[in-house]
Point group: C2
Chain length 315, copies 2
């Protein structure tokens, strides 16, 4: 399988220029003190729509537009951040947009999709419904993670974090379907091969670890985690190829370590992040990542869209 | 009364270089959409110790060190952000530090002062106790706001926000004792006299508005507000002089408008801020600030130290 190249990432950077937030890399001295490391965070919670998903969705649409013109509309399936990102991208380009969401989707995320002008369709069969909409209306389906253009869009995060500071010893990345870490690994390994890229999954939502262990992309148990942003039901073919080739390790954190790390991460950084973004801190605390004192470590904060009900549990 | 000059601010910038966070000026498109303005936020919640107070305290200590050498120790009186900032500055310079706090101080803030190695002394008579400690031990008292060096330190915020974007039409600043707005006004009016500087106080903690109306620095009623960071019991002499000369207006927001603005501000910016930082959004929503559609407006987010009990009320 062909991996995303440096040229793909440079093209994505050009496409995204002015359309996405160049998010800051922020020192996190309180975390550094706790862990005996030099910690910085890449604040993708400050991205348009509150997550990194806007990068991949924008790049995938623009790549398609260059190949075949702008489509008649957009369709996507997601309960969360990808749904909001596609709605945002659709609005930005003036395209009618349909988002297929599970009936149990969080009301706040449904409301945000609608505020952005997209149509929310509720269905238990997300993929089939999205494909049906695409076929009937001639809309373009923007995949959530398993796509080279989506991966190249997320890769721009890796370029930025290398440009904004000395090469880190380790970059820690939350893993759902694997699009974010695939892109970051492609960008970072190209120019800083000595930087280790470590993925982190909740042990209750571990499709990628399961696939790496067993060779089967879909684990037998449906994912369930407080880090709902990471609950991908399967690992991607493109993402697994990138992860096998470029990622140093993917570790799993105990479910009950995530919420404490989440509260502490917010209080230490003063950034509103979602629980998914805290699995990396949980992994460091659990000793699952090999580091030496004083190492430069970057935590990728994947998003900041927290359900109000969850917010009320913040301590 | 002598006002802080451009030279004072340039000296403060030199002193603070490398010792404070050069905080980002972040676009806030969701607020801009709501208000019909171009809104950016100056994220002093990301400052060391979680508030702008670190700037003024650092500058005041270094100014004293240049005049008379480093003191034997530091003393301050504060229930909140100034307490934590002085404890941080004391630790940075290896100086023993005493912070006089009211018996009702929030346990989390007391714990943070102690974590930073300072001694917490509980007293109902904050000023007299701090002066006694200064006299007995030969420690230097770092004032919370009414001091030219403190004001010049806060002024570096004004320099930075002008450097990081086009000159705004309006800069909105939360007001407690007035040190933050005095410094920002001194910096901004020097190079962008057309930018209006507007202060915002809770109507339950309005020492500066009261002083501007009546000429009396201490209002008859003790301040009480959910924006506890703004509950200064009196306005300063130096700060009132700066505000009279340089600030365009100081407005008061209804107490019950602050917490809704606080929740919305956090969700829209993905930044953890304290209620004090949200009075500016409350003022814009209440129509208390004259703006034209599309105006560039900067909101100064003064700090991000939220009590855990308050956090749990976030929606």
């Amino acid at each position: 399988m062909r991996l995303v190249t440096g040229d793909d990432i440079t093209t994505a950077e050009r496409r995204l220029d002015g359309r996405v937030v160049r998010t800051p890399l922020l020192a996190a001295p309180l975390l550094g003190e706790e862990l005996g490391l030099r910690v910085a965070v890449k604040a993708e919670n400050l991205q348009h729509t509150g997550s990194f998903k806007t990068r991949g969705a924008t790049n995938a649409l623009l790549a398609r537009a260059e190949r075949a013109g702008l489509p008649a509309g957009l369709v996507a399936f997601s309960a969360g951040n990808h749904a909001i990102a596609v709605a945002f991208v659709g609005r930005s380009f003036g395209l009618p947009t349909v988002v297929c969401m599970p009936p149990g989707a969080v009301p706040g995320k449904v409301a945000e999709v609608r505020r952005l002008g997209a149509e929310a369709v509720f269905t238990d069969d997300l993929l089939a419904t999205a494909q049906a909409v695409a076929g009937e209306r001639g809309y373009h389906l923007l995949p959530p993670f398993d796509d080279p253009d989506v991966i190249a869009g997320q890769a721009t995060i890796g370029r930025e974090l290398l440009a904004d500071g000395p090469a880190p010893a380790v970059v820690l990345v939350p893993v759902g379907g694997g699009g974010l870490i695939s892109g970051i690994a492609a960008a970072v390994k190209e120019t800083s091969p000595g930087t280790r890229i470590i993925g982190v999954e909740p042990d209750g939502a571990n499709a990628v670890s399961y696939a790496l262990r067993t060779g089967t992309a879909t684990p037998p148990v449906r994912p369930a985690s407080v880090a709902d942003g990471l609950a991908a039901p399967f690992a991607g073919r493109h993402t697994l190829a990138h992860i096998r080739a470029l990622v140093d390790d993917v570790v799993e954190v105990p479910e009950d370590s995530i919420l404490p790390a989440w509260s502490d991460l917010i209080r230490a950084t003063k950034l509103l992040v979602e629980p998914a973004a805290a699995v990396t801190l949980a992994a460091l605390r659990a000793g699952l990542v090999e580091v030496s004192p004083g190492d430069r470590v970057v935590l990728v904060l994947s998003g900041g869209n927290v359900d109000p009900a969850r917010l009320a549990t913040l301590r």
